[in-house]
Each structure stands twice: as structure tokens, then as C-alpha cells.
């Protein structure tokens, strides 16, 4: 679907345990076919890099590699975005039950995890878009916590 692209994001986490949502922002880069980089700039620098089945988390002083097969509960947070950007319907169908509503001009994709272990961490992913642009990604957790990521074309250098 897309070959590569850069967008800015603002992400809000609504967690019951916290009094108010926490907010982070940064840039999302995608390179076909399977490289997704989420660079958080505020409030703290952190880079998440998804290549193949490995998620690398890099911060100021640490670098951690996570094999997503070992931590399937982390999978929907990243794979949903990557597979949607890649237009990789079969990758999405391996993990989720899909529901597409709306039109090409303005669509909503609802993803519900299939695996029970994944369901424990994510109950639903809702992606809104217009044509080949992603606009919003909302991830709902079974305990009622959720995160909402809003995307817009990058203005960063």
C-alpha cells in the first residue's frame, strides 16, 4: 500500500491508576515492507523499532530487544499499525478479527485479537483513516485503560 512515510503523533494514555492522562509525542516512520519506527521525543526520548519479529526499545541509557513471540501481549500495539500501513491483510488476519466500515475516503478498521494471551492485554484496536492516511489509532485494554494516538503529516525536519 505505502512504500514509506513519516507522520507526527500525539499519544494519550488513559490509565485508571493515574489521575489524568499522560501524553507523549513524536514521529512515526514506516519503510516497506516491515520496518516501523516510533520515535518519542516528549516527554522523554525513546525509540521503538520493529523489524521482523523483534522490537528494540532504546532509551538514553538502555537498549532492550524483545522477541515478540515471547511477548505476544505487546504485539497488537505495534503490529496493528505496521500491517495496516503495509496493507498486509493476511498479517492482520493472522492476529485479529477484522471489521471494515465507512468508505475509502473515510474509513474505520476495527481489530479484535484472536489469541487468548493477546486478549489479556488488548481487547480492541480501532484505526481511523482517510484514503492511505492514518488519522487515529485507539487501543483499548480489557481493564478499561486505553490509549489514543492522533496522527498528522510531519512538520519535523
Amino acid at each position: 500500500m505505502r512504500q514509506h512515510g513519516r507522520v507526527e503523533f500525539i499519544e494519550q494514555h488513559f490509565l485508571k491508576v493515574l489521575n489524568h492522562p499522560i501524553e507523549s509525542s513524536g514521529e512515526l516512520r514506516y519503510d516497506a515492507p516491515d520496518r516501523l519506527e516510533k520515535r518519542t521525543l516528549h516527554p522523554h526520548a525513546e525509540t521503538l523499532l520493529l523489524t521482523g519479529g523483534v522490537l528494540t526499545v532504546e532509551r538514553a541509557h538502555s537498549r532492550r530487544e524483545m522477541d515478540l513471540h515471547a511477548f505476544p501481549q505487546v504485539l497488537p500495539f505495534v503490529e496493528s499499525i505496521r500491517a495496516t500501513l503495509a496493507g498486509d491483510r493476511s498479517a492482520l488476519e493472522r492476529l485479529f478479527h477484522l471489521e471494515f466500515t465507512g468508505s475509502v475516503a473515510r474509513w474505520t478498521l476495527t481489530l479484535v485479537p484472536l489469541e487468548s494471551k493477546v486478549k489479556q492485554s488488548v481487547s480492541q484496536v480501532r484505526i481511523e483513516g482517510a484514503r492511505d492516511q492514518l488519522l487515529k489509532v485507539e487501543i483499548r485494554q480489557p481493564d478499561g485503560d486505553r490509549s489514543l494516538m492522533t496522527l498528522r503529516p510531519s512538520t519535523l525536519p
Binding site: V17, L18, N19, L48, L55, V57, E65, H69, A70
Partner: protein, 799 residues
Amino acid sequence: MMVRRARVLILWVGCVAFAAFVVARAHYITDLSAFLPSNPTPVQQLLVDQLRDGPATRLILIALEQGDAAARARVSTAMVDLLRKDSQFSSVNNGEAVAGQRDREFLFRHRYLLSEAVSAERFSASGLNAAIKETIDNLSSPAGLLFKSLLPRDPTGELLNISDQLARAAAPQSRDGVWVSADATRALAVAQTAASGSDSDAQSKAIDAIRAAFATAAGSLQPRPNNGVQLRLSGPGVFAVAARAKIERAAVRLSIASSILVVALLLVVYRSLPALGLGLLPVTTGALVGVAAVALGFGAVHGITLGFGITLIGESVDYSIYFFIQSRRTVGNGAAGRSWQRLWWPTVRLGMLTSVCGFASLLPSGFPGLRQLGLYSISGLIAAALVTRFVLPALLPGNFAIRDVTPLGARITARLQGVRRIGRAPIALCSVALATLAIAVLFHDRATLWNRELSALSPVSIQEQDYDAKLRADLGAADVRDLVIVSGPDLESILRSAERAARALQGLVDDKTIGGFESPANYLPSMATQEIRRSSLPSASELRANLKQALDGLPLRPDRLQPFLEDIEATRHAALVTSRDLAGTSLNTGFDALIQHRSDKWDALLPLRSAAPGRPIDMPRVVAALRDAKLDDAQVLDLKQESDTLYAGYLSEAIRFSLGGFLALTVLLLIALRSPLRVARVLAPLVLAVLTVAAGLAIAGVHLTILHLVGMLLIVAVGSNYALFFDRQAHAEEGGSEALTLASLVIANASTVIGFGLLSFSQVPVLVALGATVAPGTFLALLFAAIGASAGNAHAQHS
């Protein structure tokens, strides 16, 4: 006469029965101890402990190759699942995150005693603020979400800290949920056996269990024909088991083959079955007495003594050959071997004694394996010679007859006529030239002549060693070549020392001298450290006040953290963590592997990792760092270097002793022959043969090992018999048939060359070393002795 004969036989049967009794009851050991010093220095003792029972010896490295990545991962998961249920293994790891519920509970319950981050500062208002802020930040990352549910009880993220602490040992990378090599073509796993690595039987069973689990796991995949995943194992235990099987196989196969060949040779020569049977009596008696003497002298017999011993007393087959052939003229009439005893026995006895002198040089060695071989050969040869002298004549049947080999001898004598015509001076010149050439070669290669690495003796091929190194590099943590060892009278004292050493080592990690290290205190801090952490925990009221201040500006309400307050208060009144608490968890394996204790001495091991794969650690800097930290009782051990030093010590010691043995042998000959010239003539062919063989090996690019040295001893031991017969022929007033003497020597040499020549076709480097030295060496010794004697005769005839 009959009475004496009966007495001799009764004595012999009695001795054999006693020896058989001792041999049957003897204790046999197949572990590494044959190679380890019997009176070790403290550092050597550490080395011995490590090589015998150290954590490194208990590791079996498992690689799955071929097939596709997904198939390898599935086989790995299923196989490890089976092995984890097997009590033979104290741990099996393929990277799967199965740190059991129990482990997590243990770590979580004791987090405020186990986490290195715990201090009074950490629970002050500002410390709490920083720690909680970081935990909240983590929540916005998918990785941090894993800890979300723990926030109310663990707002400072101590569990994450402890995980990092334990993960300090570098882990290999994972794909599809299991460890894989750097190039991702192999799936990897590590099994640690409960039994020590030197217990070859237990290792063998463990290896079988892994193969069986692999077969089951691979078989349970859908039967896809191209699945084709292959299992490959490596590690010290695997090598030891393979080596044992290989040596046993090689020894059995080669000794059967050489026995058949030697027996065939003797049958052709003797054309007499009784002669064949009787001819084997000296060597079998010698072997039995040799093993019995070692069992009595050392208390236990090493596997290598049994393996090599028989080849060392191969000389005793020669004794019966000399006896039958040389006494042929008189055999059959009543005089039997009596004239042989008068004419030839003194020469055989002298030859035997020179061999004993040679082998005696093995006795003072610090290498228990060599000492045993020395005692075995000496007692075996003496027994074999005595059987030849006293028992064989007593057992000869009245109508005993073997084929006349005079024609063979005559043909050889005719060949030597040519040598006689050349004359003495040119032959002497040639000998000097050959010796000079050989010495020049040896001098030129002197730097690389000897292989001083212990691995030279290893029956493991270079390819297998390389493969092992590759797996170790991929697995990162598993290589324990460099260790810091701290000792003390009890567990608490060594844990405290380990913590002090860890602080010094952390400095080396920071400046990249080392890549990292492990410590038992990472699993179980000392009581002193735990006590400090416990007493740094604030009281409930103080913590509540600090927390209120700390949460100012953070999106977290203090009442959310009630469970945290409760847990801290509980820890303040809880007992400290002991090794007993650790025992129920899988963490205990990691801890146990780093702790050793014997009676009242405890050692903590801190294995070091190099900063980059293949880069050696700068050990002097490690030593200096520990010294600066005033850790005087800490020892630094480089296993490979120490074991090489040990072996190099054995080697130079063995070379020195061999030269001493040669000196003793010269003195013995001087006393027996009473003529320096005759002694020189006896020794010259032997020295020339040894030099030529050594130079030949050097030219062929072989680096000499301790087994080559033993081979050279054998050349001298066996060759001295040849040279002494020629000497006797030249000097005795009443000489036997020259043709018969020559024939007996040629046949004896043929049997030696066959036996040792076969060894050099073996796959086992140590057997090859022995074979490739002795077979050509004894042949050359006979050739040089015969040429020298002929030239000498020519001279005598001319004058």
C-alpha cells in the same frame, strides 16, 4: 630338574593369579585426573576443581540446524519442554520466558532486599519522585505496560531493576521465541547437568536423554519431508563422552587389527601353534602384572594407562621371538633353551634394563598419567623378561619345533654385504651428515617444535573445537574461561567478598576492559547488604510523608499506593533471604553454579565476559583493579592459560627427565659393556633414529607433544635390544648364528612396525603421535644398527 621346573611354574601361576585378583578388584578412573597434578599449588587446585566439577563442565550446548527457522523453533520448544521435566538436568534454557510463577513470586516478595537500587536515598521524597516518575514514563511504552498491574505495589520499579540485574549475563538473541545464533541459522539451547562434567557415565546418559527428547520433538512435527532439523551437541561433557567412545573404539579396533596381523606374521614365521600360544605368554603376563603394579602402587588405574600401556610393552613380544628363533638349534633336544639362556639371555636382560632406565624417567613426572605408564612399563617388562627366561623353557614341549628362518637371515646378511663393501668411513660420514641435517632442521624449527597447549592432547578435532567456540560465542554467557574467585570460611564471607569484587569489576565494565561479569551475590546478596537495605526502609509514617511530597505534580494519588506502604512495612519486619529461600526457585541453578565448597572452604566464582567476541580480557588490569580494591584473597584464573601452563610444565619436566633417563641408560651400558666405544656404537643408531624421526615430524609440520616424547623413549627402549644384539654378535667369543639373529630382529621389528604403524591410522591424535613416532623410529633404529654393525665387521675383517 623336574622339581625346579615345577617350582617355576607354580610360582608363575601364583603370581599371575595374584595379579589377576588385584586387576579384578582394582578401581578404574576415566576422568580428567590423569592430566591433573597430584600435588597442586593453590591456583592449580582451583584449576583442578574447575576442570573437574566447575560449572563449565556441566554445560551441554545444543544446536538445531537445517530445516526452516519455524521448524527449528518448534522443535526447540518441544524438546526443552521435555528436558525440563528430566531430573538429570539442573536447568535447561532456550530463551523462552518461562521464569516460573515461583521465581517471579520469590523476586517480587523479596524485591526490597534483592534490588541494588534500594537505599535510604531511594525512599526520600526526591528519590521516590524520580523513581515513580520513571515508572509512569514506562507506562507509555508497550514494554512498560507489562508492569502496569504492579504499579500500586511496586511504584519504584524494583522488579524491573532486579530483572536487569539478573539479565547482566549477556543473553543470545531470540527469534520465534527461542535463542538463535548471530546469523540466525541455528536455534540454540543450553542444558546444565546435575552431575559433574567429569562423571562420564552420567554425561553419557544426559546426552542420550537430549537425543531422545530431540527425536520425540522432531517426530511430533507434522511429518513434512523437508522439515529435516538436525541436532548437534557440544561442550566438555559431550567431548569427554565422544573421546571415550572414540578411544575405546580406536583402541579395540586397532588392537584387534594389529593382533591379527602380528599373529599372522608369527604363524608364517613359526609354522607352529604351540609356539604362537607360548609366544604370547610374556606379553600377557607383563600386561597383567603391569596393571596390578599400578593398582597396588597408585590405588587406582587411569583409563589412559590401560589404553596405552599394552603398546609400551610391545617390546615383550620381541622377547619370545628372540627366544624361539635364536634358540632354534638347541630346541628339541634336552638342552632346550639352556644354551640360549647362556648365550642370549644376558643381552635380552641388558636390553630390558636399558628400557627400564628409559621408562624410569616417567616415574618422577608431576603428570599422574605418565607416572602410571612408567610403573606399568617397568613392571610389565621385568615380568615379561622373567617369563621368557624361566617359564618359556619350562613349558616347551619335547617335540617343539618352529620353522627354520635361517634362509631369511641369510638373505638379509647378503644384502648387508653391500654395506660392508662401502666401508666404515663413508658410513660414519653419512651418519654424521644425517645427524647434522636433522639437528639443523630441529634447530631451525625450535620455536614451534613443541606444542605447549593442553588441547594438543585433546582427542577432539580442530573442527569440533571451532564449532564449540562458535556456539559459545553465540551463547555469550556460557563461556567461563576467565574467572575471579574469592574464598572464605563460610557463605556469608564469600558473598561479601563477591560484592566488593563486583564493585571493582563494575569499574572495568564501565571502562570497557571487560564486557560484564556474573556474581552469586546477584542472586543472593550477603546478609550484611540485605541488612543495610532493610534498615534503609523508612517507617510507615515517614514513608507516607515522603510519598505525599514525592507525588506532588505526578498523576498518581497517594491512596493508590497503599499496597506499596504495606509491602515496605512487611519487609521491615521480615527475615532476610537465605540460600534456603532461593532453593525452591530455578534461580538456584545459576547461584549454585557460582558457589563451590569443600568442608570449611567456600569459593564464589565471578566469570568474566570479554568486551567484544574474540577479544581476550586484559587480565593484568583485572588483577590490578582487585588489588586496588584491597581484595587480596581474590584469585584471577584464566582456565585456558592455566591449563596450558600446567601442560607446558609437564612437557618441559618430561623432556628433562627423559634426558636424565638417557644418561642413566648410558651409565648402565658403560658398566655392562665396560667400553665407551662399544657404548657409543650401541647408542649411535638409536640417537640417529630419534633425531631423524623428530626432524621428519618437524618437516611434516607436526608439533611434538608429550606422546611423541614417550614414542622417542620407546624407540630407544626397543632399539637398544637391536643394537645390543649386534654388539653381542661382534664381541662374544661364542656367537650364535648371525643369520638367525638378524632374522629374529627383523621379525621382531616387523611386528613392532605393524602394531604402531596401525596406530598412526587412528582418528585419535594421541594414538597417531605414538604410532607415527615409534613405527618409523624402530625401523630406522634397526636399519642404522645393522648398517653400523656391518661396517664395523668390515673394519674388523680388514684389520
